[in-house]
Point group: C2
Chain length 152, copies 2
């Protein structure tokens, strides 16, 4: 707060930084909501595979129960001074429904093969909106994807 | 993932770690939900003051609009391998309604006096449930507060 923020990144640079984080990070925060308006927020491991975010968790978790009722989620990567927010719809799949390449990509990236875990399901989020900013001087121009299309 | 996790912390240690994070951290993630089930998740600055989490943001933000309809929020502090989740209800206050000590505590801790900012409101969350864990071996015993009461 005391040192001045660096100059705002260009849209191209932000897109590169977002893609580097999607490729390199292992965990994210996922927010979902119950129809009544009760928020849920938990950390999950993920892999960025074929332009989608693939996660896994228990089928009886609040996250999955919420997504069955309303498939919208918001993901947060990074930290509070290097924010990446990804909004999208989530498709649920039983392990047996998942193609082998996706299963392998998830296991290779996270070090955890979720497919044989009893009661686990896979969550695949297709990004519709992506925003990224660091400090206040980057709030302008923070939207990098809208309607599933990169703006840069 | 490759190195074994350290031994699970005791409940007392986790409570101390949670209180240290509440006292020392400056930012957190706040999840809220629209009545229709649309999740919102954003970072906010905060201060831990009188056993409550005090935040500030624009009164026309999605977070505040959601909280006016349904005052439940979930906060995440720390990171995905040192998780602190705080559930509670949020009271909204105009800057003029806020007592001077709380306003000062927020400004001193965050380095930002939100009170004179046009259109900003203060959010005060009273913790009802707090959970904390690092790795999978800490999932058991992760609930440290329930119904507003510390279990340790």
């Amino acid at each position: 707060v005391t040192s001045p923020a660096p100059a705002a990144r260009s849209a191209d640079q932000r897109r590169r930084d977002v893609l580097a984080r999607l490729a390199g990070d292992v965990d994210l925060w996922i927010a979902t909501a119950a129809p009544g308006g009760e928020p849920c927020l938990v950390p999950l491991s993920f892999v960025w595979h074929r332009e989608q975010v693939v996660m896994a968790t228990r089928g009886d978790s609040v996250t999955v129960v919420n997504l069955r009722a309303q498939p919208s989620a918001r993901l947060a990567l990074g930290h509070t001074r290097d924010v990446v927010l990804v909004d999208g719809r989530v498709a649920l799949a039983q392990p047996a429904e998942l193609d082998a390449a996706t299963r392998r990509a998830f296991a290779d990236h996270t070090g955890w093969d979720a497919a044989p875990e009893p009661g686990y399901v896979f969550l695949t989020l297709t990004p519709a909106r992506i925003r990224a900013w660091r400090e206040e001087n980057e709030l302008r121009g923070r939207t990098l994807m809208r309607g599933g299309l990169w703006l840069t």
